[in-house]
Amino acid sequence: MKEHQERISSVQIFFMVILFEIGSTPLFLLGGKAKQDSWIAMSIGSLAGFLLLLVFLWIQKRSPRSSWMNILQRGFGRIAGTTIGILYCLYFAYESMRNVRDLGELAKLVMLPETPMFLTMLIFVSIGGYAISKGAEIVFNLPELLLPLMMLSYAVLITLLLTLGTVDFTKLQPILEQGILPVVQAALPDIVSFPFGQMLVFLMIWPLWNQNGVPVKSTLLGYFTVSLFLIFMNVLNMAILGPAVATTSQLPFLKSARTLSHFLFIERLDLVVTILLFYGLLMKMTLFFFCAVRGIAQLTQRSGRFWVIPLGLLIYASSFIEQGYAQHFAIGLGPSLKVDVLFQIAIPLLILSMLLIRKRS
């Protein structure tokens, strides 16, 4: 392919925000600690995430054409900035690996119980690498192709669940049984870190916009749409499964869909749900992978294609470190969230304060 300025449009950013945030979220029931109030926890998380997003947008607005790596280098100086930049790339790679592992487990659980996980995960990482080696424009074309289909499938599923399913909104009561405090604790910082704080990756993507400035409108619109969607899905799952089942099941959305199996013609909607999860995970994995490649390419002044294979191998290899699904799950909702706080909140806030101080002086 010819080397030319890679540019992405507002629509592509809007779609990517939605698809990226949906990502692997339907795999879990977020805010499970808040029981039937998990949707409130989601809302609080989303609001907090919104404030964080405003910080990201503000930072980007100060220098619309420089990516997060450049901003870090400018903020912390050449050496420290590069070091932190590399850490960020590793963090992106780590997040990408989490999605790879998620998919490996999903494939084992639902699709191919007898096929070894190393094969499914290898295929998965290769697809991401293939897309990235084709360039940013191709990566950002994918949501345009996938999101409409996914939205259609979600719409069909939701309609079926609402009309034929066992939706019982009384399961959401009593609201705020133990006051607001446990709900806030469930939301902060866990739900902020996953998935809302992950909007951080867009600091690597906004500079690619095909217009001047920062795509504030499409980003925020996408963020609101997807927040509402995720909160609604949370409510739906809770209303179908009830707090006891929903918070303990491995794949709550799949479980909800399975409640529809009483009807002959739609015996198993597993297929649809699995496809939705597969493509969600794929996009999220690919975007993290993409940002890792882009970041390291900027730091080393080499082309992105050079780094696709080494980083792909790194992601693939690291996905074997965790022992089993239980450990993967525990790390994901435990230590991982604490690391997230550092990368998603602490460092950006540090940069923000630096920029503010510099502005004043």
Partner: protein
């Protein structure tokens, strides 16, 4: 069969004639008629269809000779307007005419023919001869005249054989390039319609014509097409596919990036959208470039029927496309890996059918699909008379008997037949053919990795397609990159009155359509279209 033969001939020729002087010499003509004629004889050889005729009329001095190729000239024109006038015209009867003034007289007064030109070298002379011109040589001058007497046997315009419609024009292109350009002129009566001719192929000297609307076709695309046509370096062009393969965007892909059509109305429709048509002499199939993936699902009949039924048919086509690509693979994946997805009763009935079948589903499906492709190929190549025999053998012996013998399950026969029928729904053969190949890959992957493999393969295909370009136009536009206002003619076909804007997918710029695809009356560009 014919093209195959001539193809092998032209391929072999260079080897045979390596030593001979088969390349026309660019030598200039001399003043001696005898020498010129001898040189022509030497270079053309003893071909029986080249006629040398001296005009030995007593009154005419200096001596005159005609050279033409029998079969390429219209005998009537030759006799009436050349031979007869040369011998009987009073202007030539004057005594003591100098060769030069005779040449000038012939060119300006005598010959009753539209296109007469002078040539000075043997190379030009040869070229004219093979175009069907009659060469007039005069003793004493080193100029020759060439008179356009071209006229050869050609097929008349007939109904399209591979792209038929129930409602709409029934004309198709013929092998003759002039007929093609005239059909286009008849449809688009605009001064903006431009026809640019090229000669490609060092031996076949095939005429190629670019047809486009100036101001609507994008200059970038035009420049790219011209550049690629000029870069072609081959000795033979016998069919449109030669050009297609030589100018398409290089990457290896199963997907076609250039459309072909034998329908003048389809070509006109494309040209009106800003595409560039390429007509090729010697084949009724014209090319349309650039093309997107979605162009292959548009049939010209979509615009001749009411929009609701057209939209419905479009959706049927897209569904058929996916069914044709994935149904056998889906069957394999579900019966091999995901039985739990089927309703219990269906599962039981499938299991009962498969009970006696000795092969795994993958082998069973591959066998049946290959059998179908063999049958299909046999159907294309066989003589008409044995057609019914093939259908009986195919349907009864291979279908029914194989099921009764327990070699394949009845469900598999249904799957394979439905897949085959779906493949035939797609209006453009080229894209239907590309999924015939993809289907086999899909089946193999489904056999080993089930649905997971299928989903992965599908996304790889999507990534591949998103990266394709046809003369700079993204292959999946307007879906990716997304331009929602251009969707009126993609998955549905909106009423003509609603398609007021010509999309910028192919065209140079987004503009109000000067005319809707079906009507040929040009309105001024800012007029509102009359509401229907």
């Amino acid at each position: 069969m014919k093209p195959l033969f001539s193809f092998s001939n032209t391929k072999k020729k260079p080897k045979h004639e390596q030593g001979n002087t088969s390349v026309p010499s660019s030598r200039a003509l001399t003043h001696s008629l005898a020498f010129n004629l001898q040189h022509l004889r030497d270079t053309i050889g003893q071909s029986s269809d080249v006629i040398f005729r001296r005009v030995n009329e007593p009154g005419i001095k200096p001596e005159v000779a005609l050279v033409y190729i029998s079969g390429l000239v219209n005998q009537d024109t030759l006799n009436q307007d050349v031979l007869l006038t040369l011998t009987k015209h009073p202007a030539l009867q004057e005594p003591d005419l100098s060769p030069e003034s005779m040449l000038a007289k012939m060119k300006d007064e005598v010959l009753a023919i539209g296109k007469v030109s002078e040539c000075k070298t043997f190379e030009v002379l040869h070229a004219m001869l093979f175009e069907g011109h009659t060469i007039i040589l005069i003793d004493g001058t080193n100029h020759a005249l060439s008179a356009d007497t071209a006229g050869w046997e050609k097929r008349s315009i007939s109904e399209p054989s591979s792209q038929g419609v129930t409602r709409g024009p029934k004309e198709s292109f013929t092998e003759d390039l002039r007929t093609g350009t005239s059909l286009m002129r008849r449809r688009i009566k605009s001064a903006d319609l431009r026809i640019e001719e090229y000669k490609i192929g060092q031996r076949t000297h095939t005429d190629i014509a670019l047809v486009y609307l100036k101001g609507i076709a994008s200059n970038k695309v035009l420049g790219e097409i011209r550049e690629r046509l000029n870069a072609i370096n081959t000795d033979a062009i016998l069919e449109s596919n030669y050009i297609e393969e030589l100018i398409q965007d290089g990457s290896l892909t199963p997907f076609p990036t250039i459309q072909n059509t034998e329908r003048p109305d389809a070509l006109a429709g494309g040209v009106l959208e800003g595409q560039v048509g390429i007509l090729i002499d010697g084949t009724p199939f014209a090319l349309l470039a650039p093309s997107t993936f979605f162009s292959f699902f548009q049939s010209s009949e979509d615009y001749y029927q009411r929009f609701d039924i057209s939209s419905f048919l479009r959706m049927i086509r897209f569904t058929s496309f996916f069914v044709s690509m994935m149904l056998p693979a889906l069957y394999i994946a579900i019966t091999t890996f995901h039985q739990e997805m089927l309703p219990t009763t269906l599962l039981v009935s499938l299991a009962a059918q498969r009970e006696g079948v000795p092969f795994p589903a993958l082998i069973e499906a591959l066998m049946m699909e290959l059998t179908f492709d063999v049958l299909r190929e046999a159907g294309v190549r066989m003589p008409r008379a044995i057609g019914p025999a093939i259908s009986i053998v195919g349907a009864l012996v291979l279908g029914q008997a194989a099921v009764q013998a327990g070699l394949v399950s009845a469900a598999m026969v249904i799957v394979v037949s439905f897949t085959a029928i779906c493949n035939l729904v797609i209006p453009a053969q080229v894209i239907a053919n590309s999924i015939r190949l993809i289907r086999f890959l899909m089946m193999l992957i489904a056999g080993f990795l089930g649905l997971f493999g299928m989903m992965s393969f599908l996304i790889v295909l999507l990534i591949h397609m998103a990266g394709l370009r046809s003369f700079g136009v993204p292959y999946l536009s307007p879906v990716a990159p997304l331009t929602f206002r251009y969707w009126k003619d993609i998955f549905i076909r909106a009423p003509h009155s609603m398609m007021k804007i010509r999309p910028q997918i192919f065209a140079a710029e987004e503009a109000r359509r000067q005319s809707s695809p079906s009507s040929k009356h040009a309105n001024s560009s800012h007029h509102k279209q009359p509401e229907r």
